[in-house]
Symmetry: C2
Subunit: 496 residues, 2 copies
């Protein structure tokens, strides 16, 4: 740190204070999803909203602006400059919106989500679209303000909240390319797999044994249990704080693979959090780089590592230790189970070949929505058309498992979806680089020695937090900018 | 409420905001004791301390003082006046201490407690006493400031944080009287019980069955599971917020009664919280009256109700439903088990006859500590001397089960211990009144119908929150001020 009482140092104190409030938001939010009984809901929402307002007030105070200006003139080293840049980014993102808009959007999102919980099972598009229209209207206002300040398109301004530096022109190019080969690849893989027998495991699978299996896999993947835990929630997530990472899963007695691979996925998120730069925790520079980079770590664990035939050699014995042998768990069948490709209507259940189609579909619709090219009432027809064209599936009239399936739009999180596929692409590119850096990687994995892999991730991704832009981080780690070629290569190698 | 924008109304908004922050403190604190992995400790302590500082700043702001002055001139009804009085009390208690002292004490307490978790099993008095000295030093500073403002003795100023209106001169009288007859009564009861055979239940007692037994007893006692939960912690407590009450227990496979009666105790606390005046939640007047009144509810549930031979008639079948029949669970033996008096070193394991001796011992030591008559290094010798004199037990060298057994002093909660015995006395007095109000009480209890008892508590205690002073609350409920005679009567009737 620089000399005492510098503006930069005052900012560090201020952001450290904000991080402490973030800590309580994170634990209060985690508890809400995992532990809280129903009657606690209203009071908890109010308490968390009160804390959000407070954090926003502190961050956007005139004093913060003044300190940011002053610190700009101070002599800072590399990481301090990066920290200041991230402080500035948080401030700019927060200060742009009038408090009335923030409150209106938060209320509209909460109302839309609350109603959606009943409307989705009832397939009630008319009811839902009315609430969603209000969320979209407020989102457009937000996008307009942000776009004007940043000098970008409206959609790009939202996208940048999740993946700073990314532009829709990049996505149009990347996703445009994907669309030229993905539907064809998908058809080929499905046709190939149709000829291969694949036995489903026969349950029931005792929930306590599933839990133990999950713990053993988390241990294998290096999760630090002194600094985190795993619990159950309806929607799996990775929450908490870097010193205390809370992942969740949900178990189903009839089928254990979804919960298990879900745990692997969240453990990828968790290891990133647990290995962010310790000495900088509490400062913006110690935060994970972006939503897409976060997802690259979970997908690297889930898709690149855990679903590989190398990893199956160590995963299978752990499964058998809990549930015993059965034909479906024989090696070749077990691999096929974990590499099964089957296009379906539901994004969260999708395999890694179909997944980008779900994302592109949503990207195209949400971009047009935010830019004002379409209205909420246009969504179902577009959804059906794209679902048919990209995945060959019919979603007509099936709103519940169509355009009403996700929580993102109900909450106003437009611009988030692309980060899933960006994450998958970063993961493929990083893993390809890991393969080159660790010549014996396959043998290491099959022998259960993941230390070199984790060391590489620690050195190249985890320890940097937000020190570098996504572009620089990826270029430093792999020697080139984001290159979707590795993702295509990965899919073709594994599935064709 | 009074007309819009009155000072009183502004205060309501302000205290409602504080209650939302209290909510997050409560859940963050509960999580720390029940869920948090060890590496989360430092960050959590810092986050909770930061929130404490914030709450203190809001509460003690000049604006609060001004509003309190203005509201004093406004026309308020009875409950509003009581609310204003409680606001004023919170303000006065908070404004006295400088922020630096509050933060220092909170950090010292957290550090002392954290180290104590390892030092206690290691019997490490030297390590512990060093941390405790810092806590005592800061507690004396606090007591000095509070005493000066209140015009009381130092110790009384701390006592009043837990039991407003209580004085050490009252306690000296009440406890002085207790000391004249309690050791003698204790000896007589022990001598009487030595002649009665009492078989211990034979374990092991499956933890899952203990958990189910606990849940069935909580249900019987009217715990609202939609607004609360039960978990495991090292030191059982009742936390959370009125809308979401979190009680804890700890299980031991060899012995189930301690955990079970512990659950009954915390359920007493919980029902008070769950039945505080709903329409006033968030306002100071809706808070529980005092620590001693809180304890009176838990002890009424545990000691007056659950350990009575009437209640055994409904408790015993629930126990047998989980663990089956065995000689120790036969009715007369089961009653003897639950009314067993056996002086021991550990306060939390003490029966209700020995318990006051543990409290008086601590009261005398902590009073002398706070007043500066003794130092931390004097504690062990005094402890041993009093343990021998009041309970006839030897604690020399046994710090772990002696002066290091409690969490209170590690956290700086001096002045708290007397409220346990005050609570026992209020409980006896209240229950005596309940017996008069409900002539068929014994039969009702034995038949499992507790509705009239709960209705009486709801009408006379729970629904009032902090509407009345402890003195008025007790006088309204029982027709007289605190009268220790009922406690003595209760012990003599049950045990002689
Ligand atoms: Zn993820
Ligand atoms: Zn208690």
């Amino acid at each position: 740190m620089t000399s005492a009482h510098s503006a930069y140092e005052e900012l560090c104190t201020l952001f450290s204070r904000l991080a402490r409030f973030d800590h309580l938001s994170a634990i209060g939010g985690w508890d809400m999803q995992t532990m809280m009984p129903p009657d606690g809901s209203k009071a908890r929402s109010e308490a968390l909203a009160e804390l959000s307002v407070l954090k926003h007030q502190i961050l956007t105070a005139q004093k913060t602006a003044t300190l940011l200006e002053q610190a700009q003139q101070e002599s800072l080293n590399g990481i301090e400059s990066a920290n200041l840049l991230e402080m500035r980014r948080q401030y700019d993102n927060a200060v742009l919106l009038p408090e009335s808009l923030i409150e209106a959007k938060s209320l509209a999102g909460a109302r839309c989500e609350h109603a959606w919980r009943a409307q989705r099972p009832a397939n009630d598009w008319d009811g839902f679209s009315e609430n969603l229209s209000e969320v979209v209207k407020l989102t457009r206002e937000e996008a307009q303000i942000r776009a004007q300040a940043a000098g970008t398109r409206r959609y790009d301004a939202l996208l940048n909240l999740y993946e700073p530096g990314m532009r829709s022109s990049d996505l149009d190019r990347i996703f445009g390319d994907l669309k030229t080969w993905l539907p064809d690849l998908l058809q080929k893989v499905v046709a190939k797999q149709e000829k291969e027998p694949c036995l489903p495991p026969q349950g029931p699978f005792d929930l306590e044994k599933q839990r133990k299996l999950g713990l053993s896999v988390m241990k294998l993947l290096g999760f630090n249990f002194d600094g985190g835990r795993v619990d159950v929630s309806v929607h799996p997530f990775c929450g908490g704080v870097p010193q205390d990472v809370r992942i969740t899963t949900r178990y189903n007695e009839n089928e254990f693979l979804t919960a298990l691979l879900g745990i692997v996925h969240e453990t990828g998120h968790a290891r990133y959090e647990q290995n962010l730069p310790r000495e900088w925790l509490g400062q913006p520079v110690a935060l994970a780089r972006s939503t897409a980079i976060h997802e690259s770590q979970s997908l690297l664990f889930e898709m690149q590592l855990a679903r590989s035939s190398d990893f199956m050699k160590i995963l299978r014995p752990l499964v058998i230790a809990q549930f015993g042998e059965q034909p479906a768990l024989e090696e070749s069948n077990f691999i096929r189970l974990n590499q099964r490709v089957r296009p379906g209507l539901i994004r969260v259940d999708a395999d890694e070949v179909s997944y980008p189609a779900h994302v592109i579909l949503r990207y195209e619709i949400e971009q047009a929505l935010v830019e004002g090219d379409i209205e909420v009432e246009d969504i179902p027809a577009l959804w059906n058309e794209k679902m048919h064209s990209y995945l060959g599936l019919d979603s007509v009239g099936n709103y519940r498992n169509g355009c009403m399936q996700d929580i993102h739009w109900t909450d106003g999180a437009f611009g988030y979806f692309p980060t899933y596929t960006l994450g998958a692409m970063y993961a493929a590119q990083l893993f390809q680089q890991v393969r080159q850096a660790i010549p014996n990687l396959s043998d290491d994995i099959a022998a259960g020695d993941l230390s070199a892999l984790f060391h590489w991730l620690q050195q190249n991704i985890w320890q940097h937090g937000s020190r570098y832009s996504t572009e620089t981080l990826i270029a430093n780690a792999t020697g080139e900018a984001l290159n979707p070629r590795y993702f295509r290569q990965h899919l073709e190698t594994r599935y064709l």
